[in-house]
Symmetry: C2
Subunit: 347 residues, 2 copies
């Protein structure tokens, strides 16, 4: 089987020769070549908005690591800026002009992705051409609830006080914002798919802050809508509800082809909650890549065993961290492919 | 039944007239009288270390809210300073001189709580006298893993990179530190109990960062040891593994009389994981106290229903937040007692 097919087959529940693997943030600061391109770009937003540079960093890990998918280099906040929320990326992390009231929400626009974010679609086209069929390309967006937290908090939330104040005291305004974010994400991901993204992932990085009852009101319906509206385009959708152990049973009913699972919930326990009709993606603790390679092998083997070679895509349970030795990421891919191929031979 | 007995009876699995309630951080910044005492103290550490002031703020919410337990006002990092780690509390949160290597860990001391933290035991004695039997007094400490994160990160962790680097690359040093923290906590809680604390709670605020396999190695054994070593003193122990939905089944086997449950895991789901031999404490999302009172009532009723009046102590799923209107906290206590008494009458 061609390396090119593993990831898509695992998403579709078709047979694979070994467990496919890609790594969240695989194009990132742990790679010296990424840091060089980043320095060349000057700042992070310029890197995101320059198709040649975004293409360059997207490609860097593909052959070095031997992963089975590429993921567009970008940031989930790019479309937020185009909705009318000024955005900057100082050292401390993203900073936005927070929007917290009905008037501010009413003033936000749903941007036309092709017209207003052409640099993203250009990057997608360049990457597809450069990949030349080696592996599929994943496009992505933030999920509506997670995007809402940035719009409302104006930064990465800590206790998400402003977010929840909006949800619990002004639910109508919250739903208006979630609906605009949903429309934006649908338009944005559809444009990525038309430009060549073969799969899309929805990152719900902060949805684990919600109790299941609130997830059902403020997150799940919007994710379901996005998946339904993208369905005619034919690209599989992966939904990653980070820190969402309590949300997995609900998440399984939203129509996604795959669910990301963070490292807190063992894959076999996740499987018990989701049933068999969805692919699971995850979930080694990213910090285990600091450990010596034999220990990485032992823990990766455990994740593979729990995955049972059954609709499983290997990944970390969260993004790879800057202090990770690149050789350890390379070793992980080799380990997963080796043990995964034994697992699939046995079946 | 006297208000004084509810909380202890619920911990012991004995009948109660209504569901007892207390609120994590009930003595805190949401109360204007707390802010006044805090201003009088000048800084946070002085407030913690002045028995009369610590007593004053501990007592403030008791009659105002009508809660069924008092909790010592202090901070989990107090004993860490006495272990030899310089500590400050600027506006941004706690700052410590981080300790990350074997030599630094070997240099840490296990303080004698009575001799080196007499202000804590004095506060406990003052509070017991001032409470005069109205409600029981809870003492507390951080659990070893959570304390380790502060020692190693030097502050409140974000991605806990340094913590996990220690666990995964220098496990011997990590265990040496966890053992010293365990000895410190046992000595510290035993002193609190001898001074008059009738119950103690172990706060494992960051243990939810661990996958279950790592919880079993780096957290659970130390919590079990603390509980075993305190058992002869006769004070019930509550263990709160924050964001620990995946850890609840394991946590139930550690010998605690009660487990705190954060707001992410509904109490009935937590119960299914823990079995019936432990009291559960929680778990309304603290941000729901921003909502209008009818909505608080609806959600509190749902928590009570899921608790089933069966070994349940009501609490928030995390500490009460500074922007909370005090009237909403008062309303919550009234709601829980009212609905809880119907629940217990029906049974």
């Amino acid at each position: 089987m061609a390396r090119a097919d593993r990831f898509l087959n695992a998403l579709a529940g078709k047979p694979v020769d070994t467990t496919p693997i890609w790594i969240m943030r695989q194009a990132g600061r742990y790679l010296p070549e990424y840091r060089a391109t980043r320095a060349k770009a000057g700042d992070f937003l310029t890197l995101c908005k320059t198709p040649e540079l975004a293409c360059e960093v997207t490609l860097q890990p593909i052959d070095r690591l031997g992963v089975d998918a590429a993921i567009l280099f970008s940031d989930i906040l790019i479309p937020i800026e185009k909705m009318g929320v000024p955005l900057a990326f100082p050292e401390e992390g993203p900073r936005l002009q927070p929007v917290r009231d009905e008037a501010g929400i009413a003033a936000l626009r749903v941007p036309d992705a092709d017209a207003e974010m052409p640099f993203v679609m250009d990057a997608v086209r360049l990457i597809r051409r450069a990949l030349d069929g080696r592996v599929p390309l994943i496009g992505f967006a933030g999920a509506p609830f997670t995007l809402l937290t940035y719009v409302v908090e104006g930064q990465t939330g800590k206790q998400f006080t402003e977010t929840k104040r909006l949800l619990f005291t002004a639910p109508r305004a919250a739903h208006a914002l979630l609906q605009k974010l949903t429309d934006t994400v649908v338009n944005y991901l559809a444009a990525q798919i038309r430009a060549g993204a073969q799969v899309v992932q929805l990152f719900d990085s902060w949805v684990g802050q919600l109790a299941p009852d609130d997830f059902r009101v403020f997150a799940a319906p919007y994710v379901r809508t996005i998946i339904e509206r993208l369905k005619p385009l034919g690209a599989p959708v992966i939904y990653f509800a980070n820190d969402g152990g309590s949300l997995l049973a609900d998440a399984a009913g939203l129509g996604a082809d795959a669910l990301g699972v963070d490292w807190r919930t063992p894959i076999d326990e996740a499987r018990a909650k989701t049933g068999d009709d969805v692919t699971l993606q995850g979930n080694l603790d990213p910090c285990l890549l600091f450990a010596p390679i034999p220990q990485i092998e032992q823990r990766a083997a455990d994740v593979l065993r729990r995955g049972g070679g059954k609709r499983h895509i290997f990944n970390l349970g969260h993004g790879i961290l800057p202090p990770t030795p690149p050789a350890h990421a390379e070793a992980l891919v080799e380990i997963v492919h080796r043990i995964g191929s034994e697992l699939h031979r046995i079946k």
